[in-house]
């Protein structure tokens, strides 16, 4: 039903936790299904150097949160402005059509964390 990548991230979620003294935090909830992703990031010289997540919800949400941290560490803030849900889905192999909102939630968490770092 789910791709190997999704089950693998569920079995071994990456970068779980909270960044200490983060540059920005994005904490977003899907109000329909109540899935939630909390992303904290550290930015040094316009580059994300550390990213950690907390998440709750269905398997694709947890996998999307986990893979998000892998996708953003080491990339510039400017570059990350272009990260969309397609990139999340590609990294997870595939996502059932009914679960696209899980990838969207991960993107929302990133946007919120970046916005928070600017404020």
């Amino acid at each position: 039903m789910y791709s190997e990548q999704i089950t693998e991230h569920l079995a071994h979620p990456r970068n779980v936790g909270e960044v200490e003294n983060p540059s920005g935090v994005g904490d977003v909830t899907n109000e329909v299904c109540l899935d939630r992703i909390r992303l904290s990031i550290r930015i040094d010289h316009h580059v994300v150097t550390e990213a950690k997540i907390k998440a709750q919800g269905c398997p694709p949400t947890i996998a999307a949160a986990s893979v998000l941290t892998e996708l953003i560490i080491g990339r510039s803030v400017e570059d990350l402005g272009n990260l969309g849900k397609k990139e999340i889905v590609a990294a997870l192999g595939r996502l059932p059509a009914a679960k696209m909102h899980c990838a969207a939630l991960a993107v929302d968490a990133l946007r919120a964390a970046l916005a928070d770092s600017r404020s």
Binding site: Y2, T7, L10, A11, P13, V16, E18, D27, N30, V32, C33, L34, D35, R36, R38, I53, K54, A55, Q56, G57, C58, P59, I62, A98, H101
Partner: protein, 391 residues
């Protein structure tokens, strides 16, 4: 270690059942309807199986109709009764927690002009006998209430409802019939058609360590049913189609084992299920057991883990070899929670965090201990992942 705790979904075929079935694939190719000796041996095997199934539920062999499984048995019982008695009435009564084989058949009958009353259940998953009595109308022809529920294992008051049916018949409702879907109770608790007081009762082989694709419908002598399939005159003209001889033989042997080993299996499954629940309750916080804990089959435990998602737990457990099921699957962002748990009045979060663990006749204590260890670790890890201010 691989631990299969989804025996309410289906079970492993018992070695004795496989042995009984094997000759009927190649060595004994006969069609039970053929006149030659090959056909007669197949026929004899089918009739032996009929006696074995009848013995398990206290019926006469002639009252057993073999089907392709529980779903077909339910379809024949519900639609077959509704259509056979339509000149006397077009009203049926069932419950909100039936298996889809009954619910979807009732919905199809509604589209055909029948009226159906869907009775609610209590927070403990029990149907009220008074609700059944009050729902009977002048033109009600069928009441269908499952014996044990597939998600919680709750046993419904079938004998009491049968008394209501008997009273109604005595008062002139001569065309009222009573069906129970016993797919989840046969082989788990004593099932006797005379004691239960039903006219029709559905059974599936694969829930009692028999093969998939075969089941039976008990039809009390003298009960009139309309045909759903047209063809040959098999099964006393109640179910057309060449008999699934190997499958029927498997069902018969599985029924015999279930009858002979019933007391031992019940005690074993109850011990294991209770051990599982005791361990889970003592080692994991925020667990709620769902359904009526006193009135249930000994094989099933339905539990909710506060703040967690059942499907995420299911997959994490599966990755470590433990198979369970969940009553909740999230689709397109909106949960489509189990109609059973919803009918029990559970909150959205409780339904979401629910798992069903079901033991079988061959589950071992070591398997339960391993499953509990994995469950404890999986729940702990899932909770560590949650934002600290989560529920």
């Amino acid at each position: 270690m691989r631990v299969y705790l989804d025996n309410s979904a289906t079970t492993a075929v018992a070695p004795e059942v496989i042995d009984a079935m094997l000759p009927f694939f190649a060595d004994e190719p006969g069609n039970a309807g053929s006149v030659h000796s090959f056909g007669q041996r197949a026929k004899a095997a089918v009739e032996t199986s009929r006696r074995q199934v009848a013995a398990l539920i206290g019926a006469a062999p002639a009252e057993i109709v073999f089907t392709s499984g529980g779903t077909e048995a339910d379809n024949i019982a519900v639609r077959g009764t509704a259509e056979a008695h339509r000149e006397h009435g077009r009203h049926l009564i069932t419950t909100a927690i039936e298996h889809p084989a009954v619910l979807a058949t009732c919905e199809a009958l509604e589209r055909d002009g029948y009226r159906v009353t869907y009775l609610p259940v209590s927070g403990a998953a029990l149907v009220s006998v008074d609700d059944v009595r009050r729902a009977i109308e002048h033109d009600t022809t069928l009441i269908s209430v499952m014996h044990a529920n597939n998600e919680t294992g709750t046993i419904q008051p079938i004998e009491e409802i049968a008394q209501v049916v008997a009273d109604a018949r005595a008062a002139g409702h001569t065309h009222l019939h009573f069906h129970t879907d016993a797919v989840q109770s046969v082989g788990k608790v004593p099932v006797d058609v005379a004691r239960l007081g039903v006219d029709l009762l559905s059974i599936a082989a694969h829930k009692i360590h028999g093969p998939k694709g075969v089941g039976a419908l008990y039809v009390r002598k003298g009960t009139r049913l309309a045909k759903l399939t047209y063809g040959g005159h098999q099964e006393r003209d109640r179910r057309a189609g060449t008999e699934n001889v190997a499958g029927i033989v498997g069902l018969g042997r599985a029924a015999e084992l279930a009858r002979l080993e019933l007391d031992e299996r019940m005690a074993r499954m109850r011990r294991l299920r209770d051990h599982l629940e005791t361990q889970v309750k003592s080692r994991i916080s925020g667990v709620r057991l769902n359904g009526d804990l006193a009135r249930r089959v000994p094989s099933v435990s339905n539990m909710s883990f506060e703040g967690l998602d059942g499907e995420s737990l299911l997959i994490a457990l599966d990755l470590r070899g433990v198979a369970v099921s969940t009553g909740s699957a999230c689709a397109s962002g909106a949960h489509e929670p189990s109609h059973v748990l919803r009918a029990l009045g559970l909150s959205r979060e409780e339904i979401r965090g629910s798992l069903r663990l079901s033991v079988g006749a061959y589950t071992t204590r070591e398997e339960i201990d391993y499953a509990v260890d994995v469950l404890v670790e999986t729940v702990a890890r899932s909770r560590e992942m949650q934002p600290s201010d989560a529920l």
